[in-house]
């Protein structure tokens, strides 16, 4: 904690982490939004068929969380060998075994936050457009 809070090195790493989170948020948000808009007719159909708002929101959120889960698993697969390699080269690096797994939680939180704009779009789509051929 001392290195993280009191030193410049910790501050730089923390800033990088926050920036990474924000950039990830924007990228994931754009991806989920594009996917939602691509399927906006299907959300309109779902609403026309009588799907309640909660179900429509749940569909978008589930897709976002699935993206987040798949991305986290792929990320872990990629990062664990790097951690092992780094700790073998630099003995004083401390990386608890549970930390990579715990990072899935902020990733999923980021995906949930990123889906807000998409949920709004899906909820506000006009169901009457289903009659347009």
């Amino acid at each position: 904690m001392y290195w993280t809070i009191k030193t410049g090195a910790g501050g730089a790493i923390l800033t990088a982490a926050v920036l990474g989170f924000l950039i990830g948020l924007v990228v994931v948000s754009q991806t989920i939004y594009a996917n939602t808009m691509e399927n906006i007719e299907e959300y309109a159909t779902l609403k026309a068929l009588g799907a309640p708002r909660s179900l429509v929101a749940r569909v978008v959120l589930t897709q976002a969380l699935l993206c987040g889960a798949v991305g986290s698993i792929l990320g872990l697969i990629a990062v664990i060998p790097v951690i092992n390699h780094a700790t073998s080269l630099i003995p004083w690096i401390y990386m608890p075994w549970w930390l990579p797994a715990v990072m899935v939680v902020p990733s999923l939180t980021m995906c949930s936050l990123a889906s807000i704009a998409s949920v709004r779009s899906a909820l506000t789509v006009e169901p009457g457009r289903v009659f347009r051929a």
Binding site: A48, L49, G50, P52, G128, V130, F131, A133
Partner: protein, 281 residues
Amino acid sequence: MPKKHLPSTVYEDVTELRPSRTARNRVKRAAHSAGLAVEDQLEPSLGVDEARSSRFLGVEGATVSFGQGDARIWPLRGVSVAFQRGPLSLVMGPSGSGKTTLLSMLGCLLSPDEGSVFVDDVLVNQLSETEKTAIRQKKIGFVFQAFRLFHSLSAIDNVALGFELRDPKQSQRLEMARQLLDQFGLGEKCNQEPNELSPGERQRVAVARALAGDPPILLADEPTASLDAQAGRNICQILRNQVDEHGRTVVVVSHDPRWRKFADRTITLCDGQVEQGDKNL
């Protein structure tokens, strides 16, 4: 033998059953063999029944406009149309006459600027979006020209979704969806995705989805417009059977003249107003 009139209590029961044409004929035959004169009372086009169900489904004095200023258009101007429980009604008219706008109002998808919309005896244009959604969910099945199936789902999952929307607690929805698809001759294709099916098969899946959960009202917008002659006839017959065998109220908007012989009633719209009604009743 002097003619007797059917007792009003019997009539009440018949009305409550929402009689289909088949059911009405069955009651007529039974009453005839008992020496009762019932034809006039059971005929849905006549007085008492009209009064009882004139607000079952319909619009009264409905005016709808889109756009503003010089670009403003009026797809419907003061239209009043009532649909009774049971018959298959056909709404025809040239493009831009307001057919789809009328169907959108009946489906609780559009509120008129003026006038009233009734669905299952409820004035719906005063309801909240949540309440309208609930009415669509429980009372109305939709069939669209463009099918509007979910392409990432198989045929059976599309139909099961219809059951799930109407009753989320329904645990047998896959089995019920399979039975429904079997009825429409799609039992062997139930695991195929929509883009692996022919247009006629897709529309049958869409009709099955619309019927999932047994809604009393079926609204169809140009259901045969994307189909060849044989597939179109199949869809006409399937929707006709919904009236004859299940007593469902079916409203079809179409340009397709083949529908005339399947419809009990034809309403013609022109320039946002009813030009002709009750042609076949």
